[in-house]
Structures are given as C-alpha cells and as structure tokens.
C-alpha cells in the first residue's frame, strides 16, 4: 500500500517484506518436512554433524549439539536484540500522553506494548541457549551488554514518532526479515512473529508523516526536520561497513546472518527513496542518485565515528535511557516481590488442603 515493495536479490516472492516473511515461514516448514537427519551417529564427529545440519538448511534446536562460539554469538546477538526492543520503548513512550488524538494515543500505546512483547519473545529465545533472563537483564543494567545505538537519540517532536516508525522500524524490518531464516530455530521463529507485527509499526509511522506532510506548512516542516535528523542514524543501524565488521563472516557461515551490513543498508536506501517521494519530503542527502549500472541508489554513508561514539555511551540520551531503565527496574521490584509472595501463599493453601 505504501510502496514498500522491492525485489529481493534472489529469494522470496515479490510480496514486499511481509511476503518475504511468509516465504521464510514456508521455507522453515519445508525444511522441517524434508527432515534430512536426526542426531549424530555414534561415531560421527560433532563438528561435522553440526556443519551437515547447517549445510542442509535445517534448523539447530536447543538440545542439539552446537559449537560453544555459535552459542555465545547467538546469546550476545539475541540478548542485544531483546534489550533494544525494551529500551526502544522509551523514545516513543515519551509521546503516548502527548499524541495529538485519542486514536493516535491508542495506536502508539499498542505499538509500544508490541515492543515489550518483542523483548519478551527474544529473552525467551535466548533462554533456550542456557542463560537466564535475570542474568541478561543484569548484563544490560550494568552496561556489559548493549542495545541498538539508535535509541540514544531524542524524540523532540511528534513528527519524530512518525520518523521512528517509518525509518527506524523500517530499517529494523530490513535487518530482521533475513533473520526469519536464521539457522537457530527459536530465534528464527521469534523473528517471524516479530516481523509480522513490525509492519504495522512501519505503516503507522509512515501514515503520521504522510498526514503531517499534507497538512500546514509548519506541520510539513516538522516532518522534514524529523527526517533530516533520523535519516543518518537509521542508516547507521545496519552497523559498520563490511570491511570493518569483524563478526560478520563467521555469522554468515553459520547462517545466522544472511546478508552483509552494506547489502542491507543498500536495500533500505533503495526502498526509502520512492517512499519519501510519495511523502513529498526530501532525504537529506545531496548525493543521492540512481546508479543505472548498479541498479541501485548511490548515497552518502552515515558518520561511523559518530556511531562508535554513541555505542561507547556518548550519544545524546545514553545516560538518560539507562537511568530510566534502572529506575523502572528498581521501582518494579515490589511488583515482582508481591507476585512471588502471592504465589507462595497460594501454594501453601493448596498444600494445606491436600494435607
């Protein structure tokens, strides 16, 4: 409907991103139906067995043997992903009470609630790898695990909520759709769920911007300003350029990652250009132009030094986000305690009745 259809390089039917998610889901079922093999045979080398399962495009499941590095990489990636969903609630949560109508408030509330759900699906997926959610939350709170740097930018106006939906959720979808084909079963299945829900997020953001850009000149200017500020940080969401991305090659070999950072970034740019035209807004890149040879747009790279600075903790809102999360965690302690006390009391009662 909003023209976010693009032809993927080689996989999936041309049904846009949602079509690709469905194709990934079908591929998952199809691979399961092929059920190429069971566990390793008694004298089979475990590494060879693992490689064989990956080669056959079969999913690795929680109780399968897997290399320690594969497990560690997945825990790190899934945890970071879960943290991002949870921290990502803040910039938009900020606007729930100030959204311009009851309808917009209800929609934004539902979207932010979805993000909490995404965080929980992902924590549950990480837990299948033998780490507890408490441990992961602790790693976030003490700063040893990161979340996506994009959420360290402030939401200054209502148009920012639109820009986040369109660009930030949009970039997240481009990143996540290939993860629906990830070799680790629980992660792939969680991503299928997440991606189906994300498309509502992207469309509601686009609709906010469309409404603003067809409103008063001041509203249009506000929408343009939001895009000007969110464009490059969104491009940076795909991570450093391939040449400087040390983990990528191994993740590709394990089929955790399916496309490189630069490929995904290019895909995102190519999608956005036409969508911006329909909005009547400009992407803030004077060098953005169609390259006939590459059949893609040439564009200006985001500032990767800035990205590194934000990752290191020096973005505009890093401190605020972490403080807020710690406070919410501490202030929620009584809820956790009350729930546990209530459960204990009920268990006691049951025991008495049984006795």
């Amino acid at each position: 409907m909003y023209g976010n259809d693009f032809s993927p390089p080689e996989d999936g039917p041309g049904g846009g991103l949602l079509g690709e998610v469905e194709a990934a889901e079908a591929a998952l079922r199809e691979a399961a139906a092929r059920a190429r093999r069971g566990g390793p045979t008694p004298d089979e080398d475990l590494e060879a067995y693992f490689a064989d399962v990956i080669d056959a495009d079969q999913k690795i499941e929680p109780r399968d043997w897997m290399p320690e590095a594969y497990r560690k990489t997945l825990i790190r990636q899934i945890a970071q992903h879960a943290h991002s969903e949870i921290i990502g609630m803040q910039p938009e949560g900020n606007w729930i009470s100030r959204a311009p109508s009851l309808k917009r408030k209800a929609i934004l509330l539902a979207k932010v609630q979805d993000e909490a759900g995404h965080g929980l699906y992902l924590y549950a997926a990480a837990e299948t790898l033998g780490v507890s959610r408490d441990e992961l939350v602790e790693l976030l709170l003490n700063g040893r695990q990161k979340y996506s740097s994009i959420f360290n930018y402030p939401t200054l106006t209502w148009a920012d909520v639109g820009a986040i939906g369109w660009l930030v959720d949009g970039a997240a979808i481009v990143n996540q759709v290939p993860l629906c084909r990830c070799s680790y079963g629980p992660y792939a299945r969680a991503m299928i769920r997440v991606c189906k829900e994300e498309s509502f997020h992207q469309r509601q953001g686009y609709e906010i911007l469309y409404t603003l850009s067809h409103g008063t000149p001041a509203q249009k200017a506000m929408a343009q300003d939001a895009i000007d500020r969110w464009w490059y940080p969104s491009l940076a969401m795909f991570g450093p350029p391939d040449a400087e991305s040390p983990h990528s090659a191994q993740s590709m070999a394990w089929k955790i990652k399916r496309f490189s950072n630069d490929e995904l970034r290019q895909r995102f740019v190519d999608m956005c250009v036409q969508q911006a035209e329909v909005l009547g807004l400009t992407l803030p890149d004077p060098d953005l132009r169609w390259n006939d040879e590459r059949q893609s747009y040439d564009y200006t790279q985001p500032d990767y030094d800035e990205l590194m600075q934000v990752i290191k903790g020096n973005g505009p809102c890093n401190r605020q986000r972490m403080e807020h999360r710690r406070r919410a965690h501490d202030e929620g302690a009584w809820v956790r305690e009350a729930a546990a006390a209530y459960a204990a009391k009920r268990a006691e009662k049951k025991e008495k009745v049984a006795a």
Partner: protein
C-alpha cells in the same frame, strides 16, 4: 494455544510467571494481542520431560523398519474400488 475451534493446541512460546494463574494472564498479554487464540494451556517447563533430538535415531528406530504400517505399502489390484 488453540488458534481456532477445531484445531489442536500448538506450542507458541515461553514466559516467566510466579504461578499458573499469572502465567495464563501473561500468556494472554504476550501471545494473543491480535486474537491469535481461543484457548491457552500453560505448563511449567520443569514438568516437561523431553526426548533429546540427539537420541533421535536410536529412540525412534523401532518405527523405521515397519513400512507395512502405511497404506501405500500395499499394492491394490486394478479395478478394486472403495479400498
């Protein structure tokens, strides 16, 4: 979760809860925000005993050599109806 009347329950995911009643409520909030189900069962993970996929070959071996359990094993002579 049972997606619709007439379908069997299917596993949809995991969650944390102090007791079964809260687990049900959390499951409703987490997994049915878009009317994905009409019935939910929750089971504590500790109550599940799983056959490991590692055991797949040996554990499920007994079924491997009994092709005659499948109707396609039998050759039906030409002209036989309703079989």
């Amino acid at each position: 979760m049972r997606a619709r009347r007439g379908l069997s329950h299917t596993h949809v995911g995991s969650l944390h809860a102090p007791d079964a009643e809260l687990a049900l409520r959390n499951a409703r909030d987490l997994y049915t925000r878009r009317q994905e189900g009409v019935s939910i069962w929750v089971v504590p993970a500790s109550a599940i005993t799983a056959s490991s996929p590692d055991e797949k070959d040996a554990f499920f071996d007994p079924a491997a050599d009994k092709v005659y359990r499948h109707p396609t094993f039998y050759e039906v002579p030409d002209g036989v109806a309703h079989l």
